[in-house]
């Protein structure tokens, strides 16, 4: 046990960040991370309680008190190793996991004050490792058996990493020209630096994982082709790449973007560096982002950084129901994003094919619906118009349809999700597992990682049985 004095402060050690009026003009990371002193001070807030409820709330079961103790004692590499033994992407999780609804939600320090800043400490340990330890872990001895992973997002990378550690020869197929999936095309640079994603992927390559980009399974190669070429098991982590629109008039005017398109242009194609890069984006002066989730916050904050004068979130429920993380909402507000709550678009207006505005209607909250949240009901006669140059639809994504459209044997729900056995994640096709957003619809990075991990275990059990 650590000899240093326990820190009984009721609040987290705050993490330095770029000032709002500076950061809303650049794409550099907003949160700057703890120093060693800050990390140690925060780590000393952990009481090492007997039941450590935080661990069971973590979808990949990181030994949280274990790594925090190592941070407190200054043994940062050991702290990292503890995290990395169950989590293949620590630097990413430390940044984008919704800790407040997972590990931190059960922390007993949270009963009287703020929980231990588990996410910030995880990020600290991972960043310390990336900055100070250059050698890669030894490549595990291979067992000569091959597994294919479809999609290189968080689910696929986790599944690949875990299988590689068990000795399998894993190939990850990616449709885009770079690996990382939503970590590259979706989450913006200022929240998750792309260099970091690259480093984590390099770590998987060092474990022997082969990554093949520019290969669309379902088009370039079929699942059948993969089995024929010698893979014994397949994991599908193809993500939630099908944007939803509202089906209101005017959605096809120029400068109505799906959040997927907008974020892909900005993040993956680096449109914010145009004309240095070749992919353009139109932003205009006034931008509305429709939706209230993390994707909506990301899109709004990107739009602000691209130089829009006024960026607003348009969301049909109230602040309390915003599905985005509290931290993201706060960050967005500080950066000058306007929140038009209890407001729903009914029509996008345009002139000669270009957006000029949007008609919205005020909403009020009625009885709770199936999701348990109070249902938004339009207030009759409350329509009003907003002048706009750009509308970004961030109202959710469905699972990508490519694979199911080209693979008849793969059973899917009518809404598009791949049907799996909840425990093992096995699909209707023998030898094929699936997880992440392709199964659940758009969710979080860590849930996808949890699914990747579960599938890796199922695949291992299956292949051991099969021999």
């Amino acid at each position: 046990m650590n000899k240093k004095k326990r820190n009984m402060s009721n609040v987290k050690v705050s993490m330095p960040e770029q000032a709002p009026d500076v950061r809303n003009k650049n794409f550099s990371e907003v949160a700057l991370g703890y120093t060693e002193e800050m990390a140690q001070e925060e780590a000393l807030r952990c009481l090492h309680c007997k039941n450590h409820p935080c661990v069971s709330k973590c979808p990949v079961n990181v030994d949280i008190p274990g790594f925090i103790e190592k941070v407190a004692s200054g043994d940062y590499e050991q702290a990292y190793q503890i995290i990395a033994s169950t989590n293949s992407l620590p630097a990413i999780c430390g940044r984008v996991c919704p800790q407040e609804t997972q590990c931190e939600s059960t922390c007993i320090r949270g009963i009287k004050g703020e929980p231990v800043a588990i996410g910030r400490l995880e990020r600290f340990a991972a960043d310390w490792h990336l900055a100070n330890v250059k050698e890669q872990p030894p490549k595990p001895k291979t067992n000569g058996r091959r597994v294919a992973v479809i999609g290189s997002g968080p689910a696929g990378l986790t599944c690949a990493g875990d299988l590689a550690k068990m000795g399998y020869e894993v190939t990850v197929y990616e449709a885009f020209h770079v690996a990382g999936g939503v970590l590259m095309y979706g989450i913006p640079e200022f929240r998750l630096p792309k260099k970091l994603v690259q480093t984590e992927i390099d770590g998987l390559k060092a474990l022997g994982v082969e990554i093949v980009c520019n290969t669309v399974i379902g088009l370039t190669l079929s699942i059948e082709d993969l089995f024929e070429s010698g893979y014994e098991a397949i994991f599908i982590g193809s993500g939630a790449g099908l944007p939803r629109f509202m089906n209101i008039p005017g959605e096809n005017f120029n400068q109505v973007y799906s959040a997927n398109e907008f974020l892909t242009r900005v993040n993956l194609m680096q449109a914010w560096r145009w004309p240095e890069t070749s992919t353009p984006i139109n932003i205009g002066k006034r931008v509305a982002v429709v939706g209230g989730g993390n994707v909506a916050m990301d899109a709004a904050r990107c739009a602000k950084r691209l130089g829009a004068d006024e960026v607003m979130i348009v969301y049909r429920r109230s602040e309390e129901e915003l599905p985005a993380r509290q931290e993201e909402v706060e960050h967005a507000k500080h950066e000058g994003i306007i929140f038009n709550l209890l407001t729903n678009p009914t029509e996008i207006k345009g002139s000669e094919g270009w957006v000029t505005g949007m008609t919205c209607i005020r909403m009020e909250l009625g009885e709770p619906d199936a999701s348990g949240r109070r249902r938004p009901v339009p207030v009759e006669g409350s329509e009003f118009d907003i002048e706009l140059d750009t509308v970004i639809m961030a109202i959710g994504q469905s699972p990508n349809p490519l694979l199911r459209n080209t693979t008849e044997e793969l059973k899917c729900h009518s809404w598009g999700g791949i049907i799996v056995d909840e425990e093992t994640l096995a699909t209707s096709m023998p030898g094929v597992w699936a997880g992440g957003d392709a199964v659940t619809g758009a969710a979080t990075v860590i849930l996808a990682m949890g699914a990747g991990k579960t599938a890796a275990h199922s695949i291992d059990a299956y292949l051991k049985e099969k021999k």
Binding site: N214, V216, L219, G241, N260, E261
Partner: protein
């Protein structure tokens, strides 16, 4: 990286390239497209496949050097490589049902390059194929021999009359239809205004007409919705629902407007690209 196995200049602006892509060559069918990226930082550009060679493992593309990316692609030589080449995207054209039927394949400008594999496939399966190929001028004619040998009747049209008949492809089509020729299918591939004109011409005759919609795209997998268009009142994604659509149901006005979404940036990029190739002595722009 994908290697350029062969490069041929077809006209001053038009280039044919065979790209090493054995997996795509094996899978690709007429009507499908690839997406290329010339270099790091480059954009993802869709191009309909002009042909494949299974034994060589190559995919043929034909493009006009009219934008930054196609100019940079055109500047590459045989033996060099480009960053990315992925596909085959989109649904293949439904051609097999037209075995033994009368089909008109109409290509306009660069669209001829895409119309050619369709004509060749139809000809091979035993359809009666008339090809109407339209070009701006004699020096822009491509694939004439190939089209002649894969059609029963070949009609060459130029806007200025410098070769073949003077006029537009629709003038020729009008004449043929008025002579009483019955078609089971008309395929039109070319600029949006040309495809719209063909659609309007065949509409009163109630001839099934298919167009290939070459929209702006990013990913090509249905992920972004950038390529959406309205077909029969419904929103469709050209990348996964097309690129072939019923010409009589496509909202061409909207498609034309959407194709101009980035005209300003395209013009900017084209100018700065031309500057890169401008001769400092004569002020002339170098062409490959």
């Amino acid at each position: 990286m994908s290697k350029i196995l062969e490069k041929r200049q077809l006209t001053r602006e038009t280039v044919l390239m065979k790209i090493e892509a054995p997996l795509i060559a094996k899978k690709a069918l007429p009507g499908q497209f690839i997406i290329f990226r010339v270099e790091e930082g480059g954009e993802r550009v869709p191009l309909t496949i002009a042909g494949t060679d299974h034994t060589e493992g190559s995919v043929t593309i034909i493009f006009q050097m009219v934008g930054k990316s196609t100019m940079r692609l055109g500047a590459k030589e045989t033996g060099e490589s480009i960053a990315d080449f992925v596909g085959p995207f989109g649904k293949p054209s439904e051609l097999d049902p037209y075995k033994g039927k009368n089909v008109a394949v109409i290509g306009g400008g660069l669209g001829v390059a895409i119309a050619y594999p369709q004509a060749a496939y139809l000809h091979k399966i035993g359809a009666h194929v008339d090809v109407i190929a339209g070009y701006r001028s004699i020096d822009l004619i491509i694939l004439e021999d190939e089209l002649r040998s894969s059609s029963d009747n070949f009609y060459l049209i130029t806007d200025d009359g410098s070769s073949g008949r003077k006029g537009f492809v629709t003038d020729m089509l009008k004449e043929i239809l008025e002579q009483g020729k019955q078609y089971d299918l008309v395929i039109a591939i070319g600029p949006l205004v040309m495809m719209r004109a063909v659609a309007e011409m065949t509409r009163p005759y109630d001839i099934e007409t298919v167009v290939s919609m070459n929209t702006i795209m990013v990913d090509g997998t249905g992920m972004c919705g950038c390529c959406r268009l309205t077909v029969g009142g419904e929103t469709k994604f050209a990348c996964v629902d097309g690129p072939d659509f019923d010409a009589h149901k496509v909202d061409f006005e909207e498609a034309i407007r959407r194709s101009r979404a980035y005209v300003e940036q395209e013009n900017h990029d084209r100018k700065s690209e031309q500057e890169r190739h401008r001769c400092r002595l004569t002020g002339e722009v170098r062409h490959e």
